[in-house]
Symmetry: C2
Subunit: 322 residues, 2 copies
């Protein structure tokens, strides 16, 4: 994406990105203060062959040494702990780098801490790609919804369960729909993180914390997965003109506390979230000034996740359309 | 809205808005450099009783004399010419004031000129409330979609025609649906601006010009209104699982030129725009990096239009969520 947009960056923003370091789990690490050769990086299986300078120890040594303004983090994460990604994020900010993450863990487990850490150092911590793969949710909150009070959120945020429910609506059993996705590589061999609602809960915690000022962890979300739904349930809803979705909801209770819930729910046909098929996703934001505002996105792709990180980087640098 | 958000402005942004002048068509004009009393303004039928300083001549004298940083423009406009609003906007920028408009005319007829005029003077010209009543469309473009190439637009942008078509889907005739809205005061006595697609065309021209770099005027939009649709057409679509909408579309033709069209179209049930009932509105933005992104909004209100102008003002001042 950086290569694709190089001409636009130069022409419209007078800007060129230089990749001065890459660290991976199984393909080595490389730093080159003059900028790594993109094609050479993509062609090699071992980035260490491109490394210039002092030998690198572990990833923390890389973070300390890489001469970058912005670190883009997209490592593996344990969804129960947010680690090791959260420690990488802390290290990046402590090393004086702006931070972009596409990783749900650090935002769900340490949003407040990382935001404070960044602010204390005059740095930015942006994370557009954590929810809805790069669709503008967090940037909306920062600028377009400034001063609006978010009263509630409703979202369809997990593509695996939404795809399974879509196929069940066409007559397949849960097992057949899941097996089909596993065969296509779009569901994991162990799908429990999706099926049991953990992925949806972690995304909902992020949204509740960032948009409604909550301080929730994924385990604090009232969570029911889709295993209990039968083909008969799905068809009964269909006959009533409704559709089952794994719905994510956050709202303020009468004491003002933010509550959050992930559970199968029947949506009526006039709900903008009801028609999101397959791997599409969507969020309805209820505010005091705009009523209900819905953001819907066609199925995600690695390119849209990359774009979220790209635009976060531009926004961190204070760039806007001229 | 400024009063409602005064506490938030002070606490979160360290900011207080002072209304130093108001000009109206039939309730007079007032300037007070110390700030007008909001309650007194709302209580009077003649603002000139609150005016302090030199006598004011016409609106251009007001624009020249008002000691404001930002002028918010929301005057009456002739949809065929964009006047007199466009001249007010020129005068505001020439007087060195940032400009917010909720008025479609100046943006549809003079977007390029006013943007250049503003840029030459280091001023901003924002207009969030011109389309979808304050829903974040233009602010998305400025920051959240930075570097994304907008390849096409599809929208439902006129609430009068959408409400009529919704009611016709419930069995009413065109005439009965229109009469119902006129009785409720939600359609105008002369509804031709809406029914013949002019209001939709002006909004589409704004979006094509600002998001796709076109240079269209409303008359350059291929335009068909909804008068030709019969109750039978609507019901035939319904039986086929489709729904008639007054669809606004912009796309690039094979020579790269932006084409724009407003016409009734049958939308399939899986189209996110198909389920926008009554006075709801929506826009699908097709980009090279995010696929299809849809923004949908529940029915508009004066409060959401006011919010668009409020958030434009904050964004002009460079404010973001802390």
């Amino acid at each position: 994406l950086i290569d694709d947009k190089a001409e636009w960056l130069q022409k419209e923003q007078g800007l060129a990105f230089s990749i001065v370091g890459i660290a991976t789990r199984s393909h080595g690490m490389a730093i080159n203060a003059q900028g790594l050769d993109h094609a050479a990086c993509l062609a090699t299986n071992d980035l260490s062959s491109l490394h210039l300078g002092e030998p690198l120890g572990d990833i923390f040594a890389f973070i300390a040494q890489v001469p970058a303004q912005v670190i883009l983090e997209g490592t593996w994460v344990n969804p129960q702990t947010g680690q090791p990604a959260t420690d990488y994020c802390r290290a990046a900010l402590r090393a004086g780098k702006h931070l972009v993450t596409a990783n749900k863990g650090p935002v769900a487990f340490a949003h407040g801490e990382l935001t404070t850490l960044a602010a204390e150092r005059g740095l930015k911590f942006f994370y557009e790609s954590t929810v809805m793969d790069g669709a503008p949710i967090h940037s909306l909150r920062r600028t377009a919804l400034l001063g609006a009070e978010v009263q509630g959120l409703r979202g369809i945020l997990n593509s695996t369960t939404n795809s399974i429910l879509s196929r069940m609506g066409e007559g397949l059993s849960f097992e057949a729909a899941l097996a089909e996705m596993q065969a296509a590589g779009t569901a994991e061999a162990d799908p429990s993180n999706d099926i049991e609602g953990w992925d949806a809960a972690i995304k909902l915690a992020i949204l509740a914390n960032t948009m409604m000022g909550a301080d929730l962890r994924p385990a604090g979300v009232d969570r029911t997965g889709i295993r209990g739904l039968s083909a008969e349930d799905i068809l009964a809803a269909k006959h009533a003109g409704e559709v089952y979705k794994l719905l994510c909801e956050a709202w303020r209770d009468s004491s003002g506390r933010v509550q959050a819930k992930v559970a199968p729910a029947r949506l009526s046909a006039d709900d903008p979230l009801a028609h999101l098929g397959g791997a599409s996703s969507g969020l309805t934001i209820q505010t005091d000034v705009l009523g209900g505002l819905s953001i819907l996105k066609t199925p995600s792709s690695p390119r849209s996740t990359a774009y979220g990180m790209f635009v976060d980087t531009l926004n961190i640098l204070g760039r806007q359309q001229r």
